[in-house]
C-alpha cells in the first residue's frame, strides 16, 4: 500500500514545511522519550519564533534546551521548566514567554486538540493564577474552569517501533506525552528506534494508529538519563 508508506529517510524530508513562527507540539517527559534527531534538525534548520508545546524544555545543552541556545523559541507552553539555567535566564530577561500549564491540563489539551474537542472544563487550576481570565462554570456545585485545546502545525514524537503505515508503540514510561502529541499535529512526524513490517505489531496493542501519523523516520538515540538513581545509592 504505497499510498500509506510514511517512511522518510532524511531529517530534511521529515521536517519539510517547518517554518518560522510555527507551533510545534513535542512528546517527552524531561529527557525521557524525546525525538532527539528531530530536535537536532530543528536546531540545524534554524527556524525561529517557535511556540513549543512540551511538558518540559529539556536541560541545558540537551533535549529542547538546545533550541534556546540560538533563541529559536518565542514561547513555551509547559508544566515544568526547572533544571535549565539558560531557560531561566531568557525568561527573566524577557526573551522567552512561558505559559505555565498544569501537567494534566496540558495532556488533556493535546488529547482534546487531536480529538476535535475545542475546549473542556476542569477543576484543576480554579482559584489559582492558572484560572485567571478563564470562564468558570459550576457542575454539581463545584466550580470548574474552561480550558481550550491545542493543535500544533507540527507534532514531533518519539516512539519505540513503528511500521510504515505509521502504527506506533512506545516503550515503558517513554510513552508519556507522545501518544497525545501524535494526534495533535497538523503534520505529525514520528522518530523511532525501529521500523517493523506491517503486521508485526498486534492490532489491538498499537498505541498510536497510523491515521494520526504523516511521516516516520528511523533515528538513533543517546537516551541521556536526567537522574540516575540506583538501589545501591539508596541503601
Amino acid at each position: 500500500m504505497s499510498g500509506f508508506d510514511k517512511v522518510v529517510t532524511s531529517y530534511e524530508a521529515a521536517l519539510e514545511g517547518l517554518s518560522d513562527n510555527m507551533t510545534v507540539v513535542a512528546g517527552g517527559f524531561g529527557l525521557c522519550g524525546i525525538p532527539e534527531g528531530l530536535i537536532a534538525q530543528i536546531k540545524k534548520v534554524g527556524v525561529t519564533g517557535l511556540t513549543i508545546v512540551s511538558n518540559n524544555c529539556g536541560v541545558d545543552g540537551f533535549g529542547l534546551g538546545i533550541l534556546l541556545e540560538d533563541r529559536q523559541v518565542k514561547k513555551m507552553i509547559s508544566s515544568y521548566v526547572g533544571e535549565n539555567a539558560l531557560f531561566e535566564k531568557q525568561l527573566l530577561d524577557g526573551e522567552l514567554e512561558v505559559e505555565l500549564t498544569p501537567q494534566g491540563t496540558l495532556a488533556e489539551k493535546l488529547r482534546a486538540g487531536g480529538a476535535g474537542i475545542p475546549a473542556f472544563y476542569t477543576a484543576t487550576g480554579y482559584g489559582t493564577p492558572v484560572g485567571e481570565g478563564k470562564e468558570v462554570k459550576e457542575f454539581n456545585g463545584r466550580p470548574y474552569i474552561l480550558e481550550e485545546s491545542i493543535v500544533g502545525d507540527f507534532a514531533i514524537v518519539k516512539a519505540w517501533k513503528a511500521d510504515r503505515y505509521g502504527n506506533c508503540v512506545y516503550r515503558h514510561t517513554a510513552q508519556n506525552f507522545n501518544p497525545m502529541a501524535a494526534t495533535a499535529g497538523k503534520i505529525t512526524v514520528v522518530e523511532v528506534e525501529e521500523i517493523v513490517e506491517p503486521g508485526e505489531l498486534e492490532p489491538s496493542q498499537i498505541h498510536t494508529p497510523g491515521i494520526f501519523v504523516n511521516r516516520v523516520i528511523k533515528g538513533t538515540f543517546e537516551k541521556r538519563i536526567e537522574r540516575r538513581v540506583t538501589a545501591k545509592k539508596e541503601a
Partner: protein, 218 residues
C-alpha cells in the same frame, strides 16, 4: 521534639489503608513509601504514567525509558501498568487515586495551598500538583510547621500564588497532625514532647486544640 523527615514520613504512612492507590510528591512524601505499616499494601502511582512504581533499579537494571515523575530511574512491580500522561491524569483528575501526599510552602485555614511559585524567586512550574490537589480523594500535606526563619507555614490566608483552593483537609508537620475544617486548623495529634503551646505559637492561622491532644504513636 520536632520530628525528623523520616518520622514525618512514618506518620504519613500510617494514614494509608490497605489497597490504596497513592501518589507521592518529591521529598518527604516519597520517603513515606519506606514506612508502609505491616499488613497494609499500597500501590504507587507516578504521574508520568506508571501505576505500580517499584524500588530504584540495580545498576544493571537502569533503563532510560523507565523513570518516575521526579525523572529518577525506577522499576515497576509485578502487575504494574504503564500508560500515557492523558490516561495518568484521567486517573488523578477523575478521583481514582486514593491518596496524594505533597509538600507545600503555605497552607491556610480555608484549605488553600501554595506550593509551586515564589514570585521573583522561584518559578519551576506546577507540574502535576494542581491536578493532584484538584483530583485526589484524600490529600495530605507534609511540611515543616515553620520555615527556617521561624515563620509559620500554617496561615490565616496564603500569601503566595495558590496551587488549589479549599482542597486540603489534613496536614502532617514536624510538630503536629492537623485537620482543616470550618475555617480553622484542628490539632489532632502532637509530636512526642511537643506542647500544644509551642504548636499554637508556630501556627499563624486560627488553631483549635483540646487540652488533651494525644501524642503521635509510632
Amino acid at each position: 521534639m520536632a520530628l525528623t523527615r523520616d518520622q514525618i514520613a512514618m506518620r504519613v504512612a500510617q494514614e494509608f489503608q490497605d489497597g490504596s492507590y497513592v501518589n507521592l510528591g518529591i521529598g518527604i512524601p516519597t520517603l513515606a513509601a519506606n514506612y508502609v505499616p505491616e499488613g497494609i499494601e499500597v500501590m504507587l502511582q507516578s504521574e508520568n504514567g506508571l501505576l505500580g512504581m517499584g524500588r530504584y533499579p540495580d545498576e544493571d537494571e537502569v533503563d532510560a525509558d523507565m523513570i518516575n515523575a521526579g525523572k529518577e530511574t525506577v522499576t515497576a512491580i509485578t502487575g504494574a501498568s504503564i500508560f500515557s500522561s492523558a490516561d495518568s491524569f484521567a486517573m488523578i483528575r477523575g478521583g481514582h487515586v486514593d491518596f496524594t501526599v505533597l509538600g507545600a510552602f503555605e497552607v491556610d485555614v480555608n484549605g488553600n495551598i501554595a506550593s509551586w511559585m515564589i514570585p521573583g524567586k522561584l518559578i519551576k512550574g506546577m507540574g502535576g500538583a494542581m491536578d493532584l490537589v484538584a483530583g485526589a480523594k484524600n490529600i495530605i500535606v507534609t511540611m515543616t510547621h515553620a520555615d527556617k526563619h521561624g515563620n509559620s507555614k500554617l496561615l490565616g490566608e496564603c500569601t503566595l500564588p495558590l496551587t488549589g483552593v479549599n482542597c486540603i483537609t489534613r496536614i502532617i508537620t514536624d510538630l503536629a497532625v492537623l485537620e482543616v475544617a470550618d475555617g480553622a486548623f484542628h490539632l489532632t495529634e502532637r509530636a512526642p514532647g511537643v506542647s500544644v503551646d509551642e504548636i499554637r505559637e508556630k501556627t499563624a492561622g486560627k488553631l483549635i486544640a483540646a487540652d488533651d491532644v494525644p501524642e503521635m504513636q509510632f
